[in-house]
């Protein structure tokens, strides 16, 4: 979202400050009016919910008035809601205690671990398979169109349908068990449920990676590869020394998108396992935890979603800063044709 708004802002504001001619100044003022509707819309659909969530996260959830048995407003909470999640402190009669198992508070770090585990494993698998598929799709051979279409099918299926599909495959009497000739209760085991999610997610999202990487591959001129071939580079050398460095910018953007997507994964585990498995929470991701918490106390849920937002933001920041996945710059240089 931010990149989309940044680009028009950047282009209109380009004239240097000194020596602004009257006409240009008029243009700039005119531009502000053109942007205003967009800004107002963004304020309503993005600004308001975020600010409102942050304000709520500093309020206590409604508690019971013990004399009347009615809910009363909780009042200002300070950082109590954040401490509740990060330090696992649950309110109890007279002070705080460590959150007991069976309360949502106790699941925070478990959910963080599960979310990152899913992210790391699925992104690695999807990158490897996606790259492989992209290279196949990039070759010229008969029936290439059919292969491309076939590879895209999983991506075209809505996630909810995918999740139900794999739910049936992984059911006790399902195809997965019939194929391997065993009777695994996939969605109830701790690791089997996690692998069920990973398999389904990889199946679904690899085409997305493949497509983004393919776009990068097609920008590599054939001459480069042919020149390397003439110079006597082997296939393996050409892949590591020529193809990979040249496709890296596109690859990094694809990986960044997938990481951000995977960190807020909700629909697939919510439908496939209901967040269950193991002793009940083996596939509870941060987003699932937020949704569960909303029914128990929206203010505490706001704190949790703010924490989730910050975690995802930090991961994206680290990735862009240190691994050089710069979405904007890549687009700009692509436009200039200097990739």
């Amino acid at each position: 979202m931010s990149t989309e708004t940044a680009t028009p802002l950047g282009t209109v504001a380009r004239p240097p400050r000194s020596g602004l001619k009257k006409q240009q100044r008029g243009q700039a003022r005119w531009a502000i009016w053109l942007i205003l509707p967009t800004m107002a819309l963004l304020a309503v659909v993005i600004g308001y919910p975020i600010v409102s969530a942050i304000v709520m996260s500093f309020q206590k959830d409604a508690g019971l008035d013990s004399s009347t048995g009615m809910f009363v407003q909780g009042g200002f909470a300070g950082f109590q809601n954040y401490a509740h999640w990060l330090l696992q402190q649950c309110a109890s009669s007279g002070g705080t205690v460590a959150c007991p198992p069976g309360s949502l508070g106790a699941q925070f770090w478990n959910a963080v671990g599960v979310t990152f585990f899913f992210t790391v494993v699925t992104v690695i698998l999807e990158t490897v398979f996606g790259l492989w598929m992209a290279i196949i799709m990039n070759r010229a051979f008969r029936g290439r169109g059919i292969v491309r279409a076939a590879i895209l099918v999983p991506w075209a299926i809505p996630t909810a349908v995918t999740a139900k599909l794999w739910f049936f495959i992984f059911s006790a009497a399902g195809v997965a068990n019939a194929l391997i000739g065993q009777r695994i209760l996939w969605v109830s085991g701790e690791w089997s449920s996690r692998w069920a999610i990973i398999i389904a997610d990889t199946w679904k999202t690899t085409p997305f990676m493949a497509l983004l990487i393919l776009a990068g591959l097609q920008l590599i001129p054939d001459e480069v590869n042919e020149a390397a071939k003439v110079d006597g580079a082997s296939t393996v050398q050409r892949f590591w020394r020529v193809t990979l460095p040249l496709v890296k910018p596109a690859l990094m953007v694809a990986v960044l998108f997938r990481i951000l997507d995977a960190l807020r994964i909700y629909d697939l585990p919510a439908i496939l396992t209901g967040g269950g498995g193991g002793s009940g929470n083996a596939t509870t991701t941060l987003s699932i935890l937020v949704v569960q918490q909303i029914r128990q106390g929206p203010n505490s849920a706001s704190a949790l979603s703010t924490i989730t937002f910050i975690i995802i933001f930090l991961v994206a920041f680290i990735f862009v800063r240190f691994l050089g996945a710069n979405v904007v710059r890549t687009q700009e240089s692509q436009q200039k044709g200097t990739l």
């Binding site: 504001a13 409102s52 009615m70 205690v97 309360s103």
Partner: protein, 430 residues
């Protein structure tokens, strides 16, 4: 230079969005005047009735009948989705918005306390009082919070023990008797007992039944202080854990919800099944059912003292919104829903268990629904799930810890201790 200016512009843009957002955030809220509980008590006029999806077309004919008799107080039907969670959220949002058009709402028995404590339900006292003397006591308990009746029981539901008449002549009356009968299942090469043990609301129902049957309780009279860490409660949960451990409850049953259990029973793979009354007619008529003429129902097995087991209660209550403008009409409509004729129609048209005790002795209904007299025993001795405003957290505490115990990841002692702690934490705010 250029980049710096770009950044400033970008930042000021973000700041602008944030400020506008804050202004909008400040707009929300605002209060009305006066206590809505004491307003519009004698209001008469058109009202709206809100309920989840009317699957068997029960509500529309009833409302048509009402509207014919009350042309000035017409009822409009607002149908919600068929998902319980969505119904709950829809009600919450409309109550928060103080929507005067949600006059009479149909609430799940386990939501009643929450909505009452939020101050959204009109206490049925004074001129809005309804007669509960002819209703089953446990159903009235689900609608009562803090000693006040906030809703009128509308439909009920209780657990039944389905058993195979070709293998077992007389149904077991206690858990221990049932476990003895498991030898028969072993010889027949089928599973012995199953209920709903997947990690969802059904597990709370089954755990509560096991604990209540053994003489334990989950929460105290105030509805929030835990009482589950007791010897009796332990006995109850231990029965289920032992069942899984020694195979009397098949391992697959840990993934069972109502439907999987029903399918297994209809496929002849189970000797005993705990389930709701809806299974009865399906198992009698389903093409895939191999047990059509080979099963019957009995009350849930008890504790060995001659009494049947303590079923958890399903069903719905009808409540009046405090924001309703026509509370007297709403009250009259609720009485209409509870009338003998309406209750009988619920049963014949939708197989919804009545809350009026007298209907269970109705010979016409009994000849049509073979399970009715058994269901009566089940509901009579039922114990409602905890009536607490923190129900979502309490049911989570029960499910998570019972599930861990059933899977053998936790000892029964630890599970009950954690359950007790989590229920306590649920009741003290965040």
């Amino acid at each position: 230079m250029r980049r710096a200016r770009k950044t400033t512009l970008r930042l000021s843009g973000l700041a602008g969005i944030a400020v506008l957002g804050m202004v909008l955030a400040g707009c929300s809220g605002g209060g009305g005047s006066g206590d809505p509980k004491s307003q519009n008590l004698d209001g008469k006029g058109p009202i709206t009735y809100v309920q989840g999806k009317d699957n068997s077309n029960v509500v529309r004919p009833l409302i048509a009948k009402w509207n014919k008799a009350h042309p000035d107080e017409k009822v409009t039907f607002k149908e919600q989705s068929d998902q319980a969670d969505q119904q709950h959220d829809d009600l919450v949002q409309n109550f928060q918005a103080k929507n005067a058009n949600y006059d009479v709402v149909d609430v799940d028995v386990v939501w009643t306390a929450e909505f009452a404590a939020k101050g959204w339900l009109q206490p049925l006292t004074g001129s809005l009082k309804i007669d509960t003397s002819k209703l089953f006591k446990p159903t009235v308990a689900t609608a009562t919070y803090n000693g006040t009746l906030y809703a009128a029981p509308q439909t009920s539901d209780g657990g039944l023990l389905y058993y195979r008449t070709d293998l077992v002549k007389t149904p077991p009356t206690s858990w221990d008797e049932m476990m003895k009968d498991c030898d028969i299942a072993k010889q027949a090469g089928i599973g012995c007992y199953a209920g709903q043990f997947a990690q969802y609301e059904g597990l709370t129902v089954n755990t509560a039944e096991a604990i209540n049957t053994a003489g334990g309780t989950i929460v105290g009279k105030d509805g929030k202080s835990p009482t589950v860490d007791s010897a009796d409660a332990k006995k109850g949960l231990q029965r289920l854990v032992d069942g899984f451990k020694n195979g009397d409850i098949p391992a697959d049953a840990i993934t069972y919800q109502e439907e999987q259990g029903r399918q297994a029973f209809e496929a002849g793979k189970l000797l005993f099944l705990r389930n709701w009354p809806y299974v009865y007619s399906l198992a009698k008529t389903d093409g895939s059912s191999v047990v059509k003429d080979k099963f019957a129902v009995a009350p849930l097995p008890g504790n060995g003292n001659g009494k049947p087991g303590a079923s958890s209660l399903g069903g719905h209550n009808a409540a009046i919104s405090v924001y309703s403008k026509h509370k007297q009409t709403a009250h009259d409509f609720i009485e209409f829903l509870q009338s003998e004729q309406t209750q009988k129609f619920f049963m014949t048209q939708g197989s919804l268990a009545p809350v009026l005790a007298s209907l269970y002795d109705d010979s016409e209904l009994n000849s049509k629904f073979g399970y009715l007299s058994t269901l009566k025993k089940s509901i009579e001795s039922a114990v409602p799930r905890p009536v607490t405003p923190f129900y979502p957290a309490v049911t989570k505490a029960i499910q998570d810890n019972a599930y861990a115990a059933l899977k053998g990841n936790k000892s029964v002692d630890t599970a009950l201790k954690d359950m007790s702690d989590a229920i306590k934490a649920a009741g003290s705010g965040s």
